[in-house]
């Protein structure tokens, strides 16, 4: 991979991150409860307002002084203090909630990539076959369902109805558990949310993989492989599948943002203590600093994921390195 390719992608990613931070800066100034508005309190004397403006740095021009100040503190990881969590720095609150989300989405992605790509490849390879028709119909249904719509029936059937799994949360509170018991407990709580996230993703990945394999199937090298007399399964495994996988790398990375955003709705249904549940709490409490930190974290993660995908793509497909 040429250095120029990496450099160009790196610059693009950095420009996007700068734009996100700038957007955050602008939004901070438009938010309800900004210092400008707080100063409109009629009980404050002009002297106090002026003193506060100096204290908060609002007497300096918006650009560049305030902007530099903002970028500096953002870079230093200071995103302000949460309203809901009694003045705890929002970075701490967000990092605490990120763990469960990463666990849920990471496992969901892993399951969905394996199952979705397999299903899509099989469907596209034998277009019109039983697997294709059933798989395609199911994929379309799950693709049309928000994660929480998949999650709610799962609770009704498997938690409220059959009682196989707990209805909500990540752990059973109380009691001294041995490490093994703790892991089993976590696993039992994880099954339903994981199924909801994975099912939603399998739909999307299988549809995309199917069309990718359909396009690959008409390539000349597939005809060549057939002409060589290779068995069908071998052509799929060693010739079609790896090539059809290429566009999927980008698609999976681009989708990551939507996955995170969508998966947070699954968290709400299962009361999973991650970023999604935190987002709803922040919305209910109109905790703007917290909302912005969540936005910044997700947006920047998505940009980084995209950058990573570009690098992987460039490594896998020599044609795009130019």
């Amino acid at each position: 991979m040429s250095g120029r390719y990496i450099a160009r992608k790196l610059v693009q990613a950095l420009v996007t991150i700068v734009a996100i931070v700038l957007l955050n800066f602008v939004l901070f100034r438009m938010m309800p409860g900004s210092p400008e508005r707080a100063s409109k309190n009629p009980h404050l004397t002009p002297e106090i307002v002026a003193a506060n403006r100096v204290k908060w740095g609002l007497d300096k021009p918006l650009i560049p002084d305030q902007l530099i100040n903002y970028v500096e503190s953002t870079a230093a990881g200071d995103l302000g203090y949460s309203i809901k969590y009694r003045g705890q720095p929002v970075v701490e609150v967000v990092v605490d909630a990120a763990g469960p989300t990463v666990l849920l989405i990471g496992l969901g992605e892993a399951v969905a990539i394996v199952v979705g790509l397999w299903l899509g490849a099989r469907s596209g390879w034998r277009r019109g076959g039983t697997i294709d028709r059933v798989g395609n119909a199911l994929s379309l249904v799950f693709y049309s369902m928000p994660y929480f719509v998949i999650g709610m029936p799962l609770i009704i059937v498997f938690a409220a109805g059959l009682g196989w799994f707990p209805t909500s949360g990540m752990t059973t509170p109380g009691g001294n558990k041995t490490p093994v018991e703790a892991i089993v407990d976590l696993g039992r709580h994880l099954v339903l949310p994981l199924t909801a996230v994975a099912l939603g993703l399998i739909g999307a990945y299988s549809i995309l993989m199917r069309s990718s394999i359909v396009e690959t199937r008409s390539e000349d090298y597939i005809t060549t492989a057939r002409a060589k007399g290779l068995p069908d399964a071998r052509i799929l495994r060693s010739h079609a599948f790896p090539n059809a996988l290429l566009p999927m790398v980008t698609l999976i990375a681009i989708n990551l943002g939507y996955v995170v955003a969508g998966a947070i709705t699954a968290e709400i249904v299962f009361n999973w203590p991650g970023l999604g549940t935190l987002t709803v709490q922040a919305l209910d409490a109109r905790d703007y600093p917290l909302l912005q930190a969540i936005f910044l974290l997700i947006a920047v993660s998505v940009v980084i994921a995209n950058f990573g995908a570009d690098l992987v793509y460039g490594y896998l497909d020599p044609r795009v390195r130019a």
């Binding site: 996007t16 029936p153 955003a261 969508g262 709705t265 249904v269 709803v280 919305l283 936005f295 947006a299």
Partner: protein, 317 residues
């Protein structure tokens, strides 16, 4: 079909078929001949009818004071879909939800398509620095997840325009959802249209228009726009699916208007009332099934349209 005639008109005006394969008669036959297109249209007709006149089918929208049943009742003869925790009839709520969800979806689609088509046509036709700038902008919106951006934009827009404001009888809470979806989802449309415009502007009929002295604005309006109309229609249908999906998600998270129960808003109430844990499936299945059916129908129809209208997709088969 207006789509077909619009393109036919262009063919006459330019004196040659600019590569567009659509003829008015063949179009509807080809679309209806496809199972997915037909299924999509039938589902949408049913929901469109419900959305047009919900009162005709199930009476006026029930609220706390006009409830007709006892709270959280499983389906009975009087309430075939059961009742919610306030005793409102679920059939009534779901049918009225069609109107609310689909109106929001339609308005959001209009905004998305307007911005997306404008950006796509200008970026593709003008090219140069304008193109680079617009495409970087669309990259930005493509990368940012709509829902997350909506989460921080919605309270701010609501604060700017005030939560009591109304437009065409629609409360600002819902307008915010419309604006947010429109502002954050145009990038895909812009990309698709731009790539088509890039190839269109190299065609002979654009050169001819230039030679006889037509300005850029005129060419974009009279020559480029009619030729990307096919794409715009297919994109609009697909965008509608996304818009209904996004509205459902945003309303579920808590950005909806409790007095205008869209399907997402009803699911939000169901979650708040603890319906999943109580096993109150009738509270969840009707609105959830409605969302899935509508999103699926629009996706099916959009893909079918894309295949039938888009010459590139045709040659791919």
């Amino acid at each position: 079909m207006s789509v077909g005639t619009g393109v036919a008109g262009t063919d006459r005006a330019t004196g040659r078929a600019p590569g567009s394969l659509v003829r008015a008669g063949g179009f509807s036959r080809r679309l209806l001949g496809r199972t997915d297109g037909l299924v999509g249209i039938v589902i949408l007709l049913v929901f469109g009818l419900l959305a047009l006149a919900p009162t005709l089918f199930v009476g006026p929208l029930e609220n706390l004071t006009t409830t007709s049943g006892i709270p959280l009742q499983a389906p009975t003869a009087a309430h075939p879909f059961g009742t919610d925790e306030l005793g409102r009839d679920m059939l009534n709520l779901t049918v009225h939800g069609a109107r609310i969800s689909m109106t929001i979806g339609l308005m959001a689609t209009v905004i998305t398509i307007l911005i997306g088509s404008l950006v796509g046509i200008v970026a593709g036709f003008v090219g140069g620095a304008a193109d680079t700038l617009l495409m970087r902008l669309s990259d930005f919106f493509l990368v940012l997840p709509t829902i997350v951006l909506a989460l921080i934009l919605a309270p701010i827009i609501l604060d700017v325009i005030g939560s009591r404001a109304q437009l065409l009888g629609i409360r600002s809470t819902l307008l915010v959802i419309v604006i947010v979806i429109g502002l954050t989802s145009w990038a895909t449309t812009a990309r698709v249209i731009r790539s088509q415009v890039l190839s269109l502007k190299e065609r002979m009929f654009v050169d001819r228009a230039r030679v006889i002295g037509s300005g850029g604005g005129w060419i974009m309006r009279r020559h480029i726009l009619p030729n990307v109309m096919n794409l715009i229609v297919a994109q609009a249908v697909l965008t509608f699916a996304t818009a209904v999906f996004t509205e459902t998600t945003l309303a579920f998270i808590g950005l909806g208007d409790p007095s205008a129960p869209s399907w997402g808003q009803t699911l939000n109430s169901a979650q708040a009332a603890g319906a999943p844990g109580l096993g109150a499936w009738w509270y969840i299945v009707p609105p959830a099934a409605a969302v899935v059916l509508v999103v699926m129908a629009f996706t099916l129809l959009g893909n079918a349209l894309d295949d039938v209208l888009n010459p590139k997709a045709l040659s791919r088969r």
